[in-house]
Amino acid sequence: MEKDRFDILIVGVGGQGVLLASEIISEAAIAAGLDVKKSEVHGMSQRGGIVSSHVRLAPKVYSPTIQLGRADFIMAFEQAEGLRALNWMKPEGIAIVSTTTLVPAIVTSSKEFEYPEDAIDQMKAKADNVIVVEADRIAGELGNPRLVNTILLGVLSSLLPFERDIWLQTIRKKVKERFVEVNLKAFERGEQIQQGTVAT
């Protein structure tokens, strides 16, 4: 992987903070001196649909979207969405996936569809580098289920060459003041996960 080019696809479900996470990565990258483009589709984001954000970092970025199959990182806040998005990733890319499961009403109310309970196993079967994060459990421990995004950001930060201070400053800048402290804690928990963990 070239050190100054990163294509990051973030996926989740409306309300999980996909857009905030992509803002933080983008601002951090600018602070680190890279060109940035990021792209997402708004409109349905609060209605329980899939939300995805393409973040592209390089000395000069053209396309605002990642080419299919070329993402260096997939960051998934929900495990089935991680599985769904996995074919966007390079074979040597790294997927960071939360064990969070969100089963939509369309699955519970009919026999037509099934939720893949083994989504993470399927991801591991398809890709070499899958980092599984019990972010829902950790967020629960920290007392706020909405911290899954920041915990995964902590994991990602340990894989990107930006100084730690840049991340912390960006979080302070982008997160609402009364949530800054708990988000910094969540970020730190994410950082710790990757330390000493071998991707399996």
Binding site: Q46, G49, Y62, P64, T65, A80, N87
Partner: protein
């Protein structure tokens, strides 16, 4: 100074820098954030939501005539609504600069069609600018005001979802004060009766000739040479995709794309062995270039449908023989994955209306808004959706021909009713229709993010506002059967629809409850499922509430239900339809 801005934020920034004093719009994805940004960050600009795009455009005409540089923004289909003033405004021209932003939605991420609004520029013979990223969105907006004043014409800035909603680094500047202008009476220019309009049409043709010279020299139409035999003619976001995939080709990048710089194009084509046109949606460049006798290829390889992407451009280049292979995804996509369509929120006040309509099995003519989600399974309670305001007219027609034995009900939201439902209801009164209309009123333009409208009591700038009373308006139109009901009262909604459908003359059922997200999230005491009583009948699953999920325990092979108390707003609908009375207030649950 540099900032990370979305295309929409950059347009607002550019208009502000250009000294705009007025900005008008009706919300519509992907255009909405332009005016929201203006109202939030650039308070010197008088920004307002109008009830629809036609009115917004007309307010813009007046502001421009009055001497203020004016920005008018709408989504692509909004321009259809504003097309009437727009087409003639092209004849009158402007006073102070007038810029129309059309935000198109290739792929229909949040729209009912993917029409290519570049044709509106050609249709009306007005200039067209197509930014390819946030920086150009800012730069071209500023330039558009200058072009508008220099050539005395409205100017279109056309963006797409991937421009509007992508962020990039933008070098910004300071606000200038635009040239002072006042309204000067000039009936031959501004009163478009036939004798004046005939003369103005001549002016339009003359202006077009001047613009044909301008398009050849503007720096927005630029050749990027790399010494390649392959030349790509492209514009908008397609330029970025092509450049990503084939950085070594020569480019003719069209930023000012109507009228096209045909001389520049001819020279570019002549100096390259292979020339391809890469553009999203319709062959807008390609057809005009070919009509000028210049042979190019494009759509044959890149297709007409949906968004382009780096991958699709690569495939097209391969089909054209320009590249040998396309790197494909080596990780296979997962098969048979469940869909995750957007759904009505927990506690959404629209839910009760659709539960009742589904029960009655009537034909439901729908409209544009959050409530369009009433068509999704398992609610499955909407049968048509065409455009803003169409529900009422459609229901009138269906009812007139007795097209459906159980009758037709129109469903329309408050903002959409004010946008263009009022005239439909007027038709129902006038033509003695027996139609039943449900105005599902949540006091917001909710789908686009909860914007204000004429019945909410607040302006875009956050000031207290005059308020249209929808109930009084309906009755003033001559509707005798008007009923206001609580959409959280399922039985009342059901009975009211039955009664109103049985009556002669048009009926309006007005359901009133605020959107649970706007202006602040509504959270009452949540409900829980008493698993001892729950018999896994599945009735609560069928109301399609995201807070209700399958519990691991089963009965007769079916899952019992569980409520996510962090999502439940306490709207009570599920508890009303639970036949076992197993859904109860959390505080009433006896802890074991």
């Amino acid at each position: 100074m540099k900032e990370l801005l979305s295309g929409n934020e950059a347009i607002a920034r550019g208009a502000w820098e250009a000294g705009a004093r007025m900005a008008v719009a009706y919300p519509g994805t992907p255009s909405t954030e332009i005016l929201e940004t203006m109202a939030a960050r650039h308070r010197e600009v008088c920004s307002q939501w109008s009830p629809n795009e036609k009115v917004a455009y007309e307010v813009g005409i007046g502001a421009s005539l009055g001497g203020a540089r004016t920005l008018v923004c709408m989504k692509h289909v909004g321009v259809n609504v504003a097309a009437d003033p727009f087409m003639t405004h092209a004849y009158t021209g402007v006073n102070a600069g007038f810029v129309l932003v059309t935000a198109d939605d290739p792929e229909m991420h949040s729209s009912q069609n993917e029409q290519d609004n570049r044709f509106f520029a050609r249709f009306a013979n007005v200039p067209l600018l197509e930014p390819s990223d946030s920086q150009e969105a800012r730069d071209m907006t500023i330039a558009a005001f200058q072009i508008s004043e220099e050539y005395d014409t409205p100017v279109i800035v056309r963006v797409t979802t991937r421009i509007s909603h992508s962020k990039g680094v933008v070098a910004v500047g300071e606000r200038i004060s635009a040239p002072e202008r006042v309204f000067v009476k000039d009936a031959p220019k501004y009163v478009m009766v036939p004798s004046n309009a005939q003369k103005r049409h001549v002016v339009v043709r003359g202006r077009l000739e001047k613009l044909r010279r301008f398009t050849e020299r503007t720096p927005f139409n630029v050749v990027e040479g790399n010494g390649s035999k392959v030349g790509i003619i492209t514009g908008g976001v397609a330029y970025q995709y092509a450049k990503e995939v084939l950085p070594g080709a020569d480019y003719l990048r069209l930023g000012f794309s109507y009228p096209l710089p045909l001389e520049k194009i001819a020279a570019f084509v002549k100096s390259h062995e292979t020339v391809l046109v890469v553009e999203e949606l319709e062959p807008f460049y390609e057809d005009q270039i070919r009509a000028a006798g210049i042979m190019v290829e494009g759509k044959k390889f890149f297709g007409h449908l949906g968004e382009l992407s780096p991958y699709r451009v690569a495939e097209g280049l391969k089909a054209a023989g320009v590249i040998d292979k396309v790197e494909v995804s080596k990780i296979s996509p997962v098969e048979n994955m469940f869909p995750r369509p957007p759904v009505l929120c927990p506690g959404c006040p629209h839910r009760g209306a659709f539960m009742a309509l589904r029960k009655l099995k009537v034909a439901v003519t729908g409209d544009i808004g959050c409530y369009t989600l009433g068509f999704t399974k398992p609610l499955s309670a909407m049968d048509t959706c065409i455009c803003m305001g169409a529900s009422i007219g459609t229901a009138i027609g269906m009812e007139k021909v007795h097209g459906y034995a159980k009758g037709a009900v129109a469903v329309i939201g408050d903002s959409t009713f004010l946008h263009s439902g009022v005239t439909g209801l007027m038709d129902a009164v006038y033509n003695n229709s027996n139609v039943t209309v449900m105005i599902v009123d949540n006091s917001a333009t909710a789908m686009t993010g909860g914007q204000q409208h004429p019945a909410t009591g607040r302006t875009l700038m956050g000031e207290p506002a005059g308020t249209v009373d929808i109930g009084q308006l309906v009755q003033a139109l001559g509707v005798k059967n008007y009923r206001a009901v609580d959409p959280y009262d399922y039985d009342q909604v059901l009975e009211t629809i039955k009664e109103e459908m049985a009556k002669d003359g048009p009926s309006v059922i007005h359901t009133k409850r605020p959107c649970v997200l706007m202006p602040k999230r509504i959270m009452e005491e949540p409900y829980v499922v008493d698993l001892e009583k729950c018999n896994a009948c599945g009735a609560c699953f069928r109301i399609s509430c995201p807070a209700i999920a399958a519990h691991e325990s089963t009965e007769r092979g079916h899952h019992k239900a569980v409520i996510d108390t962090t999502l439940c707003t306490g709207c009570t609908l599920c508890s009303q339809i639970c036949p076992e009375e197993a859904i109860i207030l959390k505080s009433h649950m006896v802890e074991v």
